[in-house]
């Protein structure tokens, strides 16, 4: 347990300090939302209607940023080898690194969502629903990305690769995130799709670290 919290503290500190790049995701998210009115026109009723979906797409893309660095940075400076030699199970280490990445990059996206939602003219009730579904969904996205991050660590050029691998698998989270948000806006049946969203997110919380540990063991040399 102490190993887990130590890794989480270390990674969050590294992400927040100079050279960490934790804020880039939020800036990217803001830039994406700013682009939407330029693309569809400054039509407030239309933006209100597509706003929740745009916030979900934006958060999904922003959460892919920096994914390939989760393990790659530690792989390059050798600290990943030290972590793998330690007595803590590799699955726990992977989970800790995923949690730290979510705290530094995923949670800020959820926090700024209400502000960005106001810019798109989203109603307060819908705003609450989008924030809540993102709070439930982004951990799943990060832990799904953990698998791609572990594969990218062994690659000569990871980069955009992890995004290509993660996007098709993130469809269930996107579907249930947007469906439950729209259900909340329509005022009917928010519970069922939201529970499915939580279930899928939890499923990735288990699958992600296990598959990432497998990738670290088998693919790196």
């Amino acid at each position: 347990m102490s190993a887990l919290s130590a890794i989480v503290m270390r990674d969050v500190k590294l992400a927040l300090r100079a050279g960490g790049g934790a804020g880039v995701g939020v800036i990217f998210f803001l830039a994406l939302v700013t682009l939407v009115p330029f693309a569809v026109g400054p039509d407030m009723p239309l933006l209100t209607r597509i706003g929740p979906a745009m916030l979900w797409i934006g958060a999904l893309l922003a959460s892919l940023l920096g994914l390939d660095r989760i393990f790659a940075a530690d792989h390059e400076d050798g600290s990943l080898d030290q972590l793998m030699l330690s007595s803590a199970p590799l699955e726990t280490i992977a989970a800790a690194k995923g949690l730290a990445h979510w705290l530094a990059s995923g949670l800020p996206l959820v926090i700024v969502t209400p502000v960005l939602g106001l810019m798109l003219g989203i109603e307060p009730k819908a705003l609450l629903a989008v924030s809540l579904t993102l709070l439930a969904g982004t951990p799943g996205l990060t832990f799904l990305g953990l698998v791609a991050a572990a594969l990218a660590a062994a690659m000569p050029r990871g980069g955009l690769f992890s995004a290509v691998l993660v996007l098709p698998l993130s469809i269930p989270l996107l579907i249930f995130g947007v469906v439950s948000t729209n259900a909340a806006i329509a005022g009917e049946g928010f519970g069922a799709p939201f529970r499915f969203l939580c279930a899928i997110s939890l499923f990735f919380l288990v699958l992600g670290p296990a598959a990432a540990a497998m990738a670290l063991r088998h693919v790196r040399d």
Binding site: P156, P168, P172, P193, L207, H218
Partner: protein
């Protein structure tokens, strides 16, 4: 003979030498019979002659799923047993499966235009096949991302397994929206298709399975030869130094 004996690439080459022509011949005969029966089968009362697309579209759809399953089984072989032929089988399944999946999408679009009035619709089943195609492309891209075939094989195997576990989740969530696609027409024990159309479909499906087997084995043989050539080239380069 225990399974490990087939792990020998040389023995595989010996078996492949006669198995590939055999599978190809079976494919040629079954496809000739099945497709000509399908050609003479009655036109559908709603779809007209366009129903004949079914005899190639449906086998492609079945095989793109079967190839993905084969790829996942091969991935288990790579990760769990370190079977030396498993990653070769997985790569070949990904290559042939991606092509069959693409053909399934194309024939479906060509059928959909006159029948539904549109090439594409965001219907659950179409969308699921498109996602399956994306997963195939991801695996193939991963194969190309590494220069060492063994590491590429293990990376692709992990992605294939994670993707395979996710396929039911994706399928289920995509089904969440409802659509215009018809229900399953064939299920075990009963069939909504008239025998005059069902038998040509089953025979041509068997033909495409044989074709898949021939292409898969040939792709495996080519991959083994490619790796052998790569090893020889590296040895040659080391010698001249």
């Amino acid at each position: 003979m225990p399974l490990i004996d087939y792990a020998n690439p040389r023995r595989f080459q010996e078996i492949a030498r006669w198995l590939i022509p055999l599978a190809a011949a079976a494919a040629a005969i079954l496809l000739a019979v099945g497709l000509s029966m399908g050609w003479r089968a009655p036109a559908d009362y709603q779809q007209g002659e366009m129903v004949k697309v079914m005899y190639i579209h449906v086998p492609f759809a079945w095989l793109s799923l079967a190839a993905y399953t084969l790829m996942a089984v091969a991935a288990l072989g790579t990760i769990v047993w370190r079977h030396p032929l498993a990653d070769v089988a997985g790569k070949a399944a990904a290559q042939v499966g991606a092509v069959f999946c693409f053909l399934c999408l194309v024939t479906g679009a060509l059928w959909g235009r006159p029948t539904w009035g549109t090439y594409w619709d965001w219907d659950p089943r179409l969308t699921s096949v498109l996602v399956l195609f994306l997963l195939y492309l991801g695996v193939l891209a991963l194969w190309r991302a590494f220069d060492d075939p063994l590491r590429a094989g293990r990376a692709a195997a992990i992605l294939a397994l994670v993707g395979f576990i996710n396929v039911p989740v994706v399928k289920f969530s995509v089904d969440w929206w409802n659509s215009i696609h018809q229900r399953d027409s064939i299920s075990l024990g009963k069939s909504a298709i008239d025998p005059s159309m069902l038998y040509p479909l089953l025979i041509s499906a068997a033909g495409f399975f044989a074709l898949f087997a021939a292409l898969h084995l040939a792709a495996m043989r080519n991959e083994l030869l490619r790796r052998r050539a790569r090893t020889l080239r590296i040895l040659k380069a080391a010698e001249t130094e």
